[in-house]
C-alpha cells in the first residue's frame, strides 16, 4: 500500500499551491481557484486519515466530512463567481488591486 506520508505530502503541496494562488494572483477568479485547491488538499487529508484510521469500513466520518466539504465548496464557488461577475459588470475589472472603493 501507499504510505500515509505520501498522501499528506501531496496534500501539503496542493495546499501550498492554493495558498500561493490566493495570496499572489491578481485576478479574483484565480484567487477562487486557489481556494478550491486548498479545499481539495483538506479533502485529501480527510480521506487519507479515514483510510488509515481505525475500522475504516465502519467509521465513515472522514468520507462524510469530505462530502460536506465538496458540497460547501460548490455553494461557495457559485456565490463567489456571482460576486465576481457582478463586480465586473459595475467596475469592468476583476483585478483585486483595482477594487479599492472602500479605501479612505
Amino acid at each position: 500500500m501507499v504510505p500515509l506520508t505520501w498522501y499528506l505530502i501531496l496534500a501539503a503541496f496542493v495546499f501550498s499551491c492554493g495558498l500561493f494562488a490566493a495570496l499572489g494572483r491578481r485576478n479574483a477568479i484565480a484567487v477562487l481557484m486557489g481556494i478550491e485547491l486548498m479545499l481539495n488538499a483538506a479533502n485529501i487529508n480527510l480521506i487519507a486519515f479515514w483510510r488509515y484510521g481505525a475500522a475504516p469500513a465502519q467509521n465513515l466520518d472522514g468520507q462524510i466530512f469530505a462530502l460536506f466539504v465538496i458540497a460547501v465548496a460548490a455553494a461557495e464557488v457559485a456565490v463567489g463567481l456571482a460576486l465576481v461577475i457582478s463586480v465586473y459588470r459595475n467596475r469592468r475589472t476583476v483585478n483585486l488591486d483595482d477594487l479599492d472603493l472602500l479605501k479612505g
Binding site: 500500500m1 501507499v2 504510505p3 500515509l4 506520508t5 505520501w6 498522501y7 505530502i9 501531496l10 501539503a12 503541496f13 496542493v14 495546499f15 501550498s16 495558498l19 494562488a21 495570496l23 499572489g24 494572483r25 491578481r26 485576478n27 477568479i29 484565480a30 477562487l32 486557489g34 478550491e36 485547491l37 481539495n40 479533502n43 480521506i47 479515514w50 483510510r51 484510521g53 481505525a54 475504516p56 465502519q58 465513515l60 462524510i64 469530505a66 462530502l67 460536506f68 465538496i70 458540497a71 460547501v72 465548496a73 460548490a74 455553494a75 464557488v77 457559485a78 463567481l81 456571482a82 465576481v84 461577475i85 457582478s86 465586473y88 469592468r92 475589472t93 476583476v94 483585478n95 488591486d97
Partner: protein
C-alpha cells in the same frame, strides 16, 4: 535477481506517483499560467488527479463525486466566469500582484513546515483492509439520514440559499 538498494515500489505506489504528478502539475499550472483559461484547465487536471487519489484510497464514491461536482460543475462555472469577464484576460497587466514575492516566501515556508511535521511523525504505512465496498456506500447513506441528518438538511438549505443568492447577485437588472 540482484538485490536492489531500495524496496521495489508496488503497482499501487507507481500509480499513486503518476496520479500525484498529474495533481502537482495541475496545481502548478493553476498558480503559474499567465492565461487564466489555462489555469482553469490545470485546475481540471488537478481535480482529476485528486479524484484518482481518492479512488486509490478506496473511497470510490468520493472520487466519482469529486469528478461529478468539481469537474462537472465547479470547473464549468469557473470557465464560464472566465469567459464572461474575458475583457480582463488579455490585458498587459501581470497575473501576479504586488505582494507576490512575500506570498512566495510564506507559501514555501508553509510547505516546508508541513513536510517537516508530516515526515517527523511515524504514520502507519498500511491501513486496515476493506472487503465490502458496497457496504461503505450503504453506510454513507445511512449516516446521512441518521447521525448526520441535521448537518445534511442544513447543507441542503445552504445550497438552496447559495443558488438563489448567486442568481440574485449575477442577475442583470435592466
Amino acid at each position: 535477481m540482484p538485490e536492489l538498494p531500495f524496496p521495489l515500489p508496488t503497482v499501487q505506489q507507481v500509480i499513486f506517483s503518476m496520479v500525484a504528478a498529474l495533481t502537482v502539475f495541475g496545481a502548478l499550472v493553476v498558480v503559474l499560467a499567465p492565461n487564466l483559461f489555462h489555469s482553469a484547465l490545470g485546475l481540471v487536471a488537478a481535480f482529476f488527479g485528486v479524484a484518482s487519489v481518492y479512488i486509490i484510497a478506496e473511497a470510490e464514491f468520493i472520487g466519482v463525486s469529486q469528478v461529478l461536482i468539481y469537474v462537472g460543475a465547479i470547473s464549468t462555472l469557473i470557465t464560464f466566469a472566465i469567459m464572461l469577464t474575458r475583457g480582463m484576460m488579455f490585458g498587459a497587466t501581470s497575473p501576479r500582484n504586488r505582494q507576490w514575492g512575500t506570498a512566495a516566501i510564506i507559501t514555501s515556508l508553509t510547505f516546508l513546515v508541513l513536510v517537516a511535521i508530516v515526515s517527523s511523525v511515524p504514520w502507519p504505512a498500511v491501513g486496515e483492509p476493506i472487503s465490502q465496498g458496497h457496504e461503505i456506500i450503504a453506510g454513507l447513506g445511512r449516516a446521512f439520514v441518521n447521525e448526520y441528518v441535521i448537518p445534511f438538511l442544513l447543507l441542503a438549505m445552504l445550497l438552496l440559499v447559495a443558488l438563489a443568492g448567486a442568481i440574485v447577485l449575477a442577475r442583470d437588472y435592466k
